[in-house]
Symmetry: C2
Subunit: 454 residues, 2 copies
């Protein structure tokens, strides 16, 4: 038979088993952490009607959409989890209770130019809190605590959550009389870190049409430095000059004030007045999260407050706040920069049971008993040499092997071998189980990500 | 602004939050159960190159594929998880250790005619064990124990795992001289339950070209009745007449022999000689699982042994055994037939914390402390009436509410209200935590599915 060459599309992540085990563990931690904050899980289709998905229309995104006809239907694969959420909330408005908190971990699709570390199919892990008509500022203070908890539970320590408030920026621009250019100015200062102050100044004057005095004022403002209270202090100097700026300052102070009681150590966040988040729909607090040792990667978790989640579908005003982790890209980076904990290496089972009798009932019974105690067991019943089976356990990093031979059956003992030490013990079931559990507890103490202290 | 009517495509399941919570719990049980048997998690792309995905070609399936062009690429959405597995194993052969055990829970796509209970996007939950060149029969005996464990952990009790062996059938047909018609005969007897013996006899003679004696022999054979040992006993009567039949009988006896030590009670399985599984690639043990009270639903978990997983991609012989649960359809049926446990109703949080002070630091601190203890907490900080907040807790079925007012702060007490009883206690943190944990443990004792005993 002629063979088709097996291959996976470029830009589509497909992990080897051990790496997938780590990805799975990461996802499980995300699910558990989000649940801790009272978020519902949500699952929406990958395919939607194109007119629904592209209601907002235009933009860079639209070109990247996987869109096609099937019969009479014009279909598109989702490119984020926000639009499907907007559709869901508008569609089910009457059956939801607000604030509606949901998380969703799912694949999204963008036909971008393929390059290393860029994916066309990738997981996003999103949380959002949606209000009905209004949503309290406290929710904006809670979000950084979820970011903090999520990443530290994964094992990441050296990261910084950067906060800003769009009202502060918009108010400041209005104060300078730059209302109409606010969007362009915002997109420009967002690039400060990348292109530097001189270049930003140039673009502000040449492209955004500010005067050189305005450009200087803007640069002075966004480069206010110091710790959180220094910056808030400096911002107080602008109070009373613009209503929106005052409101943003109020919000920013409230968020900062409550962060500590939400459990976020002060080392883990900072105010960064350059953060604008390009997207127009953010209206309040905005977030970015950077790895301290890898700023070049950009933000690993971003989001913010918006006022109108579902304006394309409904007249209801649905303000919300949310963040998104680009999980596939994050995993790629962690793998690439050697952040994934390999000690112990991920294993698909805790114990490999090796039957060595003609009738293998005793080995099966033992495997069944161990599984009933929650131990993950593989039974290796293939007709292979003993050495090949040990190599198999080694290759899969299965920590324990139990041999079930005639002697063990006759004497009712469990022959337990720990592969890391080579130590073998003949003992009874209860003792073997205790030893295994102790070993597994020690192994489970390690986190998925291995990072230095902050 | 003109609004787009929000809608979800027909044939695409999108659950309300409480139902999604139950679906998520089911998936988590599947993941944990599969892990107990030493299966790796696996995740492959939803999109594949069409020539790779459709290597096998032809068949009913091909018409249903979501296939489209994007730039120069001819792409298809996966229609099952078996073809992607075959591709994965062929592609990564050198880096895998065999037997390779993987589970995958993922969405697949089939553009079927939309009708109630039929889905175009649906989850499959698959497990497979793949051997390199050979795979021991013991694996075929282990599979029913995974089916049994999975469904009973979900809470389903009244189901039956039905076993057969394709070698028994093929050997028997060969014995009758019906080698060439074996496929047609198999597909016909597969319909016995649906169309009855007379109709099967008619098709065998008219369409499959058997003599009426052969048709009688076939019907006599497949309607052998009794318990497992009765049937094996009756089959012994055919021994020695055909090598393949003998081999199949050996395998079937081995599977049955070991089922008990694998922990499957004899009530939960039976040999059913009518089960053939239409697909041609099954070569040994085949499985179906039926709900005793809803046979009309068909099999809720099926699969079997095959000899060549990846013959379209590689010359390596990769025999395997696997099963698949059509999770979306199963969930639909469970919901439709009222099998989902609503006592207690699913809730996104365990405790709703209600701040009732101006500075809400104490409420946030309490929420943070509870979360650190693993309690799922929502903080309700919206500016709404007290009654509206209690209604919110009721609507979301959150079992506990804690009020944090001036008095509670002053006296350092926790005001804990259990919504089911209306009972309110003022106590300290440690006691409140104990009460909550006891309540949650009682709630967690219930399974996702509520079913009578077998």
């Amino acid at each position: 038979m002629e063979k088709i060459k097996p291959r996976t599309l470029s830009g589509f992540m497909e992990l080897l088993p051990a790496a997938q085990e780590q990805m799975e563990r990461m996802m499980q931690i995300l699910r558990e952490t989000y649940a801790l904050y009272g978020f519902y899980p949500l699952d929406t289709p990958v395919l939607e009607a194109s007119d629904v998905l592209l209601a907002k229309g235009g933009g860079e995104t639209e070109k990247q959409i996987y869109r096609f006809q099937k019969g009479d239907s014009d279909l598109s694969m989702r490119f984020d989890l926000t639009v499907p959420l907007a559709k869901y909330v508008a569609l089910n408005y009457g059956q939801l209770a607000f604030p509606f908190r949901r998380y969703q971990i799912g694949k999204v699709y963008r036909g971008e130019r393929a390059q290393r570390g860029r994916f066309r199919e990738f997981y996003q892990a999103d949380i959002d809190i949606i209000g009905d008509g209004q949503l309290d500022i406290i929710n904006e203070a809670e979000i950084p605590s979820i970011i903090y908890k999520t990443f530290t539970r994964l094992g990441l320590n050296r990261f910084k959550i950067r906060l800003n408030n769009r009202k502060v920026l918009n108010g400041f621009f209005a104060m300078l009389g730059l209302d109409t250019q606010a969007g362009d100015v915002m997109r420009t200062i967002d690039k400060l870190e990348k292109i530097g102050a001189d270049k930003v100044r140039e673009i502000l004057i040449d492209d955004c049409g500010t005067t050189s005095e305005q450009a200087d004022e803007i640069l002075k403002f966004i480069t206010i430095e110091g710790n959180t209270s220094d910056i808030l202090q400096a911002l107080e100097g602008y109070r009373g000059k613009n209503e929106m700026l005052d409101c943003g300052l109020e919000e920013l102070s409230t968020v900062v004030k409550y962060l500590e009681s939400f459990g976020v150590p002060s080392d883990y966040f900072e105010i960064d007045l350059t953060i604008a988040r390009g997207l127009d729909y953010y209206t309040g607090t905005v977030y970015e999260t950077t790895m301290i040792d890898h700023p070049e990667i950009g933000s690993i978790c971003s989001g913010g407050r918006y006022d109108n989640l579902a304006e394309y579908y409904t007249d209801k005003k649905l303000p919300g706040v949310g963040i998104s982790i680009g999980l596939t890209r994050l995993f790629f980076v962690l793998q690439d920069k050697n952040y994934l904990n390999q000690n112990p290496p991920p294993a698909p089972a805790d114990v490999l049971v090796l039957p060595m009798t003609e009738d293998i009932t005793p080995a099966i019974t033992l495997a069944t008993r161990l599984r009933e105690q929650g131990v993950r067991v593989q039974l290796h019943s293939e007709k292979k040499k003993f050495k090949a089976k040990i190599t198999y356990a080694d290759k899969l990093a299965i920590p324990y092997v139990i041999f079930v031979g005639e002697d063990e059956v006759k004497n009712d003992v469990v022959a337990l071998k720990e592969l890391a030490t080579g130590e073998q013990t003949n003992t009874n079931f209860a003792h073997a189980l205790t030893r295994i559990r102790q070993g597994l507890a020690a192994r489970a103490a390690g986190k998925v990500i291995l990072d230095s202290e902050l």
